[in-house]
Symmetry: C4
């Protein structure tokens, strides 16, 4: 009897915490999201000297309240979920833990509690709460496009790394330490800053030869920008073509219709008639 | 009798102000546009110390003349338009108000009268006056492409925001205040400056670890550039495909067929049969 | 008899100067190109203090020799060409004049003789000489793609201009003169530097509000980059599709074949059989 | 008999060095790669003053060990390969030589031994070892896309060069030496920095006219970014279209059909008939 009641209590709590279909569950989710954003704002305010000197104690109390609230929520989730280990190792399980950990780690390593902003990732649940399904779909499409170009992008990054090492060493030999290029890693940093067209200007070539190399790297970076853009674009284009490809005409067997077509564009057959 | 004459007067004034088909209406519109550009130039000149010290009083008089002229025009439009409330809440109604407001607000809040440049938006009417319809169509096409990728871009911006908060906090913890990263919001500013490849260089990482993180962010920014470009490109490509085929179905009158379609995708009619 | 000989002389000279099919014409063209590059290098060397203090007099003599040579060539072209006025107003006629003018203008306005580098444009003739026809075709394709997106790009530039004026005024009001934003034009310069992701860093926002606006402008710039890229890409893609479109199947009348197809992909008919 | 044994020895050594199918060959290859990465890390550490003052002698000894190891490997490869001259002139032959040369050149020209990082290129062999064939294919695809746009990109770079010379001279005349634009080559450097949106900020226009030119160059750079991106994207798109269709003609065995083709474009055979 006692066990039964506990089970019911777990089930009811689980439905509040994990499902947002019920009214209570939805209110709970919105409250959690508001808390997350408030707690991230508190961490940000704390990092600012001007604000911290005024509101310091209040902010610290608020942060601990948030942390304890998130800790309780994490424990409740662990207790009520069907497969605690599976949850603990899932993306949101790890994110829920990371929302709590930094505050405790900061007791040993001061300064690290700012990493509590990682709890912002929990806001991704907002998609579930607000039923932003079409937005979620678009996000999935972008991720799919990126995943489909995954291998090409890996090859690309590998090439960029090799280029950065070699060009960084070259500029290090050309410019030398008297112009700020004090080591190869630092010169690699400059190379990446230049190749990606960021161009901070904290390190700039001073010799004529160095400037010529810099110009070559910039123009190269220009061309290199074209590559990932081309890959992702081609992926998105072919993806949107693939979305068109699904229906097959029952008369002539051809695919490649647009989603709003009613009739086969090859033989005029009604696409919806089986 | 009196009322009749007023109505006629309103109708005639309305045709001058709102329609540019008539000769007088066209001259009126061109005069308004010339006035807008002149007034924006006056505001710009006023903002320059060197010019203001020489021509200050003249510029101020000129600006008030422009403001009063625009005020009179705004009141006339309100008086003569058929549905004043509808106009007042339309895009151009708000722009017309914003052309006048800053001068008066500046009496209370000095400095804000520079916002009078917002009246430049009124120049968008130029498209109507100069019959730049094809150019307008292109603008509409661009806006359509942007609107069609609206949701994807929202998701994208949301992701960029979360990335900026998390990476900003990370660099804040790594670099700390002694290297200029004085708060998390300021570090987020640096993250966005880096991620978008703007790279002012007012804040730069000084530690080795910070520079490595910066390199990762730059290369990430490189990849991230690819995403909106890919989305908009795919949209423009599919748009231009849809527009390219000029054939019109003789049965249902719809266009937008693909160039190699033989049959209407709306009614299945043979496209080549007249 | 005298007149006849002059005519022959003109014809022969014209064939040397204007045509590169003959051996002499080709040698003449290559000599001209070598002279152009040498003269541009001389102008560049002259601009450098270090080199000019050493070789100053020699460089000046060399430049005058080049100028006189180009002047003689220009006069010869004018004398021998069939329609001198038509030539003088053509692209290369103006470029040939600009190769000579700066040296003489510099007698009145010192410093302007550096503009003699405009003679570099004459090197475009290299395409004719070296029979770089396929390269020329690619250049023409790029120009066509740009010309086809001409109107869209005009609308785009117009929008960028309006955005720069409004955002420039906004940042001017927010940041003010104490942070370096000394006038609206200068603030517009900052806006364009930020929007295009160039980011010199000579002007940077110092206030929190200014940095928030800067972040918004950067992310906007990110999205804006996508627009011209999308337009040009769509143009190049549809151009390469259009190249495929030319042959029409004699059996089924469909187009859209790839350039190396021998048979219709719709009905299997031999495309080359009429 | 003696000769036979030598041959066998050569054959066995060759199979270890050049083939990675055998177990020993694979272990050898992984060892070489580990050595390469270790040696590049050593060169990088050496370039850093802080590390070099501590570990200097050890690093120098390590570098010479690596160099001698690579030298021995290079000689072994030369001795065992079937066509030594062919190998010596191949890409990897030159890379293997460049892995060794800098250490010896540095005896004459101090500082150049940092170029030993070129041995990093040897890591490209990793693709063969780790059987990263699909990744290699992607790399080949990227290179193909770049090669197919080769001529367009050459024309593009040529145009950028001419634009840089002319705009560089223009800004040199406008800004002059008092604003840091001390010579035309240096002004060209600024032009490229601006056109590619790198924007170091070590040189910035100070005059109003110079800033207007800079704004024009930036917006131009914006448009110019669109061109290579468009070219590469169009190439990748058409490539992925060509690759997408896996159908093979049963008559002539060719692939590369478009997804909606019904007939082989090479022989006109019905693609759907087995």
């Amino acid at each position: 009897m006692e066990k039964r009641r506990t089970a019911t209590w777990r089930v009811r709590l689980r439905s509040v915490i994990f499902l947002s279909d019920s009214r209570v569950g939805k209110i709970f989710d919105i409250a959690v999201i508001a808390t997350i954003i408030a707690s991230v704002v508190v961490v940000m305010l704390e990092s600012s000297h001007a604000v911290d000197s005024m509101l310091g104690p209040i902010l610290r109390v608020a942060e601990w309240c948030f942390t304890i609230a998130f800790l309780i929520e994490y424990i409740l989730r662990l207790l009520t979920v069907r497969r605690p280990l599976h949850y603990a190792r899932s993306f949101f399980g790890i994110v829920d833990l990371l929302a709590v950990l930094p505050a405790f780690v900061a007791l040993l390593l001061p300064g690290t509690h700012y990493l509590a902003v990682l709890r912002l990732l929990r806001v991704l649940r907002v998609f579930r709460v607000l039923k932003l399904v079409p937005y979620m779909k678009e996000g999935v499409l972008i991720l799919e496009a990126l995943r489909a170009s995954r291998r090409k992008i890996t090859v690309f990054l590998f090439a960029v790394l090799i280029v950065a090492v070699i060009l960084g060493s070259l500029i290090y030999v050309i410019e030398g330490e008297e112009n700020g290029f004090t080591s190869i890693p630092r010169s690699m940093y400059w190379t990446v800053v230049t190749l990606t067209t960021v161009g901070y200007g904290d390190l700039t070539p001073q010799t004529g030869l160095g400037q010529m190399l810099a110009m070559a790297i910039m123009v190269m970076g220009y061309g290199i920008i074209a590559v990932p853009t081309g890959l992702v674009t081609a992926e998105v284009v072919s993806q949107s073509f693939r979305l068109r490809d699904q229906r097959r005409c029952h008369e002539c067997g051809r695919t490649g219709h647009q989603p709003d077509s009613g009739f086969c564009r090859h033989c005029g057959n009604n696409l919806d008639r089986v």
